[in-house]
């Protein structure tokens, strides 16, 4: 990955600025670094942007035994191999200086955070580990043998509670002493270790050589700028590795750091088995095991989506808003108002006609879509906040491998349930082109976005058999298409690993905040588009174009066993998926669709062409040829599946 390096204030010598002693506080966000910074500096601090970036860096002064040191609070980072600009800035600050590094970790999460301390040890700088938030660790049942940890790690370790000042005196003494002593770098084992040694050997005794060698192996452009190495040496180093792709190297290095951290922490860090830990472990086990995980998923889908979104949101709330509010009061009032004050029929038609901006556009947005999407967002936020989604990704990993993807694809596919357009772009997280093509196709074909899914749930709520058949048909098409693509598309499949954040009881505040944010943004996005849709329909009606287009597609509707009026919903659906679903909703309420027609229209609309926004994103990500080919296949498939489903249901005499 090519990284831009910020401008240096002076020319770096082997990556470091000489002179003034500094103390760098390094660690993840939310470990108490800033509290520690304030406690150490306790007076005047300067906050400034790192040159050429928007990242703020705080600097303060620490007086120790007559000497003044500068304390730098580096931006929060999760790894020395950066992904964000904040992490790049933090790493560049460390590479430029000889200062003491204070690695601050949250003591109760030491197993997760110690790997970064091992990375820091490879910089060859004086290093101190601060296990902060010891009070919380104790409360969580953690026992930490600080002396044993220090012995096994080879660096001084101090336990602190920065908010109370506990441990700070000891830390200051260590800083004073450690200013002259460099820590021992962690040596990576195996082929990676051999590769690192090969490159480090060429860096002529530079103290950060092992770490810079790691960066070279990962193809980091910063390493090439700070400490260039001959390409032949890099090639010789990579020859040690079975898979020299930067992403594979990075994954392997992370694994080695985690393994070493586990070895160090054995018998040193003991997590007491409290009732809440046991509970979490049991639930984790259930969610990750497919034998229990799939039934749990089925329950989540039934209760969360079908009952809450489909029945409560889609029927109860929509029924009240649409019938009792809009159709009974708001629309008649608006029509009367316009009849009284607006003499021009064509303008009245624009605003309060059958497809009027106010009588249809706003009504769709407020009475139909908002409650359904709102309840979907609420249910989704609960799942998010609990930590369930990454476990779902892990559980589905094996299944996804059958369709040529891996658990990592859960990210764009889950995103697709939010917005397929963004999800299509997020297929970039998948490592190979093959996976990206498969994921893009499946997103366009069989993953309904949140707008659409909420409405379809509302449409089918109260028809459990139809709902079950809808899920079965769409999931079946998803799996069959994916399997066929996996079989016939050339290319390798990438591995998947993911760090699981802890499970937690969803916080009501977080859930409500996320839901309100999503609903607020959604409303801002949807209302203008629905108004625009109404205006376009009005223009289409005036010019006679829209009725012609509807008439042209009616034969297709009849072939699907649907009334001609359904063609409007499908045409709307290309513009905006939820608009199309809302059109079907109207037909259902008017009694124009029976159970079988409801199912056929829901399945066909789900599998239908992507909306315009997603279409454009596909074109951007995959190019015109692939996009048009995919769209053609999708359209044909959607109509074929709808037709076949209708025939099967009619021939079998099933009523829903």
């Amino acid at each position: 990955m090519a990284l831009a390096t910020p401008p240096y204030e002076s020319e770096p010598k082997n990556g470091r600025e000489p002179g003034r002693k500094r103390v760098f506080l390094v660690g993840n966000p939310n470990v108490g670094k800033s509290v520690l910074f304030n406690a150490l500096t306790s007076s005047y601090a300067v906050v400034s942007n790192y040159p050429g970036t928007t990242v703020e860096v705080s600097r303060g002064k620490l007086r120790l035994d007559g000497e003044e040191l500068e304390v730098v609070d580096t931006p929060g980072m999760y790894s020395l191999r950066p992904i964000t600009e904040e992490e790049r800035v933090a790493r560049d600050l460390l590479l430029r200086d000889d200062g003491v590094i204070v690695s601050v970790v949250d003591a109760k999460n030491l197993p997760r955070l110690l790997p970064m301390t091992l990375e820091l040890s490879m910089l060859g700088r004086p290093l101190i580990l601060v296990c902060n938030l010891m009070d919380e660790a104790k409360g969580a049942g953690v026992t930490l043998d600080v002396k044993a940890l220090s012995r096994k790690l080879g660096v001084p370790v101090v336990a602190t509670v920065a908010t109370r000042g506990a441990g700070l005196d000891e830390l200051k003494k260590l800083i004073e002493r450690e200013a002259a002593v460099a820590g021992a770098p962690f040596a990576l084992p195996g082929p990676i270790g051999a590769a690192v040694e090969t490159i480090a050997g060429a860096l002529n005794g530079v103290p950060s050589a092992p770490f810079l060698a790691l960066l070279h192996l990962e193809g980091d452009a910063a390493a090439a700028q700070i400490a260039p190495v001959e390409p032949e040496i890099i090639a010789r180093a990579r020859a040690f590795l079975a898979d020299a792709r930067p992403s594979a190297v990075s994954a392997e290095i992370s694994k080695l750091f985690r393994k070493r951290a586990s070895e160090i922490l054995a018998d040193v860090f003991v997590q007491g088995r409290r009732a809440s830990s046991r509970w979490r472990e049991r639930v984790d086990g259930m969610l990750l095991n497919p034998w229990t995980g799939f039934p749990v998923l089925a329950i989540v889908l039934y209760l969360g989506l079908y009952e809450f979104v489909g029945v409560f949101g889609g029927q109860v709330v929509v029924g009240w808003l649409e019938n009792d509010l809009f159709l009974s009061h708001v629309n008649p009032w608006l029509s009367a108002l316009f009849a009284k004050y607006v003499p021009w029929a064509v303008i009245r038609d624009l605003f309060v006609g059958e497809d009027g901006v106010l009588t249809m556009g706003i009504r769709y947005a407020v009475a139909i879509i908002l409650p359904v999407v709102g309840s979907f967002f609420l249910a989704f936020s609960v799942l998010e906040d609990s930590g369930y989604l990454p476990r779902l990704a892990l559980m589905l990993n094996r299944l996804f491998r059958v369709i040529g993807l891996n658990g990592r694809a859960v990210i764009p596919l889950i995103l697709g349930f939010g917005c397929d357009t963004t999800a299509t772009m997020v297929t970039r997280v998948l490592e190979t082109t093959r996976e990206r093509v498969i994921a893009t196709f499946l997103l366009a074909l069989a993953i309904p976005c949140s707008a659409q899914i909420g409405l379809i749930l509302g449409l089918l709520g109260g028809h459990p058999a139809a709902m079950g058949l809808w899920i079965f048909t769409v999931a079946g098409i998803f799996l069959i298409s994916g399997t066929l693509m996996a079989r016939f598309l050339p290319g390798k499949q990438a591995r998947f690993f993911m760090e699981l954040p802890p499970l937690r009881v969803p916080s009501l505040k977080n859930v409500l905040n996320k839901t309100m944010s999503r609903m607020g943004w959604y409303f801002l996005e949807v209302v203008p588009l629905f108004v625009l849709a109404s205006v376009l329909v009005w223009i289409g009606n005036i010019t006679g174009l829209f009725p012609k287009l509807i008439a042209a597609t009616e034969p297709v509707m009849r072939a699907l066993g649907l009334p001609g009026a359904a063609s409007k919903a499908f045409l709307f659906g290309f513009f905006r998926r939820d608009y199309g679903a809302a059109g079907l909703y109207e037909l259902q309420k008017a009694g124009a669709l029976d159970g079988v027609q409801l199912l056929v229209s829901a399945v066909t609309l789900t599998l239908f062409l992507p909306c315009i926004a997603q279409f454009l994103m596909m074109k951007r990500e995959r190019g015109w040829k692939v996009t048009l080919l995919m769209s053609g296949v999708i359209l044909a498939l959607a109509i074929s599946v709808g037709w076949a489903l209708n025939q099967i249901l009619l021939l079998s005499g099933v009523t829903l």
Binding site: N28, P29, N30, T53, T54, V55, G76, Y78, I83, T84, E85, E86, S381, E384, D385, G387, L389, P390, I411, P412, I414, L415, G418, C419, T421, T422, A423, M425, V426, R428, V429, M498, E499, P501, N513, K514, M516, S517, R518, G520, W521, Y522, L524, E525, A613, L616, M617, R620
Partner: protein, 71 residues
């Protein structure tokens, strides 16, 4: 800073990396209100206060649709 809903890592939605994830999206400037986590790629919802700021800008008649995280 916001917490990613999937991986729980913290990131700044206004940072260049998060903005970079939105570059090239056909929804940019339309106010979709999402921002991608630079660590795991998961889309997160921007805080609602950003929606209010965006609405104010639109109301004031800024013609150019600025990218997400506009300063």
């Amino acid at each position: 800073m916001i917490e990613c809903a999937l991986c729980r890592k913290m990131f700044d939605p206004k940072s260049i990396e998060a903005q970079g994830a939105c570059q090239g999206c056909s929804l940019i400037g339309t106010g979709c209100g999402r921002v991608r986590c630079p660590y795991c790629g998961y889309e997160n919802q921007r805080p609602l206060k950003d929606a209010r700021e965006r609405f104010k800008k639109l109301w004031r008649g800024f013609g150019h649709a600025a990218p997400h995280g506009d300063q």
